[in-house]
Assembly symmetry: C2
Homo-oligomer: 187 residues x 2
Amino acid sequence: MAGRGAYAKGIAKREEILAVALEVIARNGYRGASVREIAEAVGLSQAGLLHYFGSKDELFTAVLVKRDEVDTSDAMGDILDDLVRIVAHNAEVPGLVHLFAHLSIEAADPEHPAHGFFIERYAHLRETLAARIRAGQADGSLRAELDPERAAAVVVAAADGLQAQFLLDPSVDMAAELTAMIEDLRA
Amino acid sequence: MAGRGAYAKGIAKREEILAVALEVIARNGYRGASVREIAEAVGLSQAGLLHYFGSKDELFTAVLVKRDEVDTSDAMGDILDDLVRIVAHNAEVPGLVHLFAHLSIEAADPEHPAHGFFIERYAHLRETLAARIRAGQADGSLRAELDPERAAAVVVAAADGLQAQFLLDPSVDMAAELTAMIEDLRA
DNA sequence: GTCTATAGACCGATAGAC
DNA sequence: GTCTATCGGTCTATAGAC
């Protein structure tokens, strides 16, 4: 895997493009963040950029995966706390929240490059949460009458829905609402 | 307001366009539902259609308002029941759910024609739900420790988030999940 | 008032030269 | 690996016929 110069340079360039794209989107928002604009910010032509990522959707999907990796590496252990912390952090980068929301809707099409990513992301998130809820029920810290799978799906849904409300009206305090909801799960 | 022939005809044409657009979107989905396609389905040129609605976004916003009117007229009285019924019905028209989700994200831009619509829609929905929760707490049918405003915001958010999960994976049973969530609010 | 036709701007995608 | 040039598609705007 430790490729030679040319290969390694390609990888590095991809990383550089992703970092710049993340900046541009976080600053200018998703709207108007065209491939051309990002390409110019990196110092490439539009076609030059699309050499590294086959299409606009693939580029933006890669940005998403990258953000997810960063979020995951920041995780502290308790998924309930992590979720609230991620949501709180998201309030500071509305452009990225917009990109995420936008792509999650567009990826409904099975042909979309990010379709698999979102399917797996939701499945993994729901499983992790359900396991955490079961553990909490076992040690008596969470209410016993909850259905772990259903509660997990609804917590994930609420987090997404709160982001939509936040995008429309930035005064919505996503983290506070989500915290209150999670508090309500406790015994 | 009872205009003469020409005016009334314009109104009727608008209604006809909205009805056809609703059909096309429900059938073909939002993706690929271009102004041209809808115009041809009505028997108009693209520019002919845009004479009635200033832009694509305005047209789609009008479709949304129309759907909302239909939903509202179907309401039976109890907002909690109505919400579940609307969500259940939505599972049968994924194209419309897609349109709704897509526009609600795009409308985050304050310049978007549907921005005000969504702001008001969420505010109204949250108020109505909060009032219903307060009433339920007064008569002892809903849990007393809930914060009515927060619970209302979270229920709305969950409904939206479940729609996003449903669009990605149609096997997700939105109505069942939402019903379970609402059950959990009861005393 | 209503509609057709057309033109311009922008975008993403692709071909092919270097 | 990067560029220029170009293509097809979408939205918007407008001039002018009816």
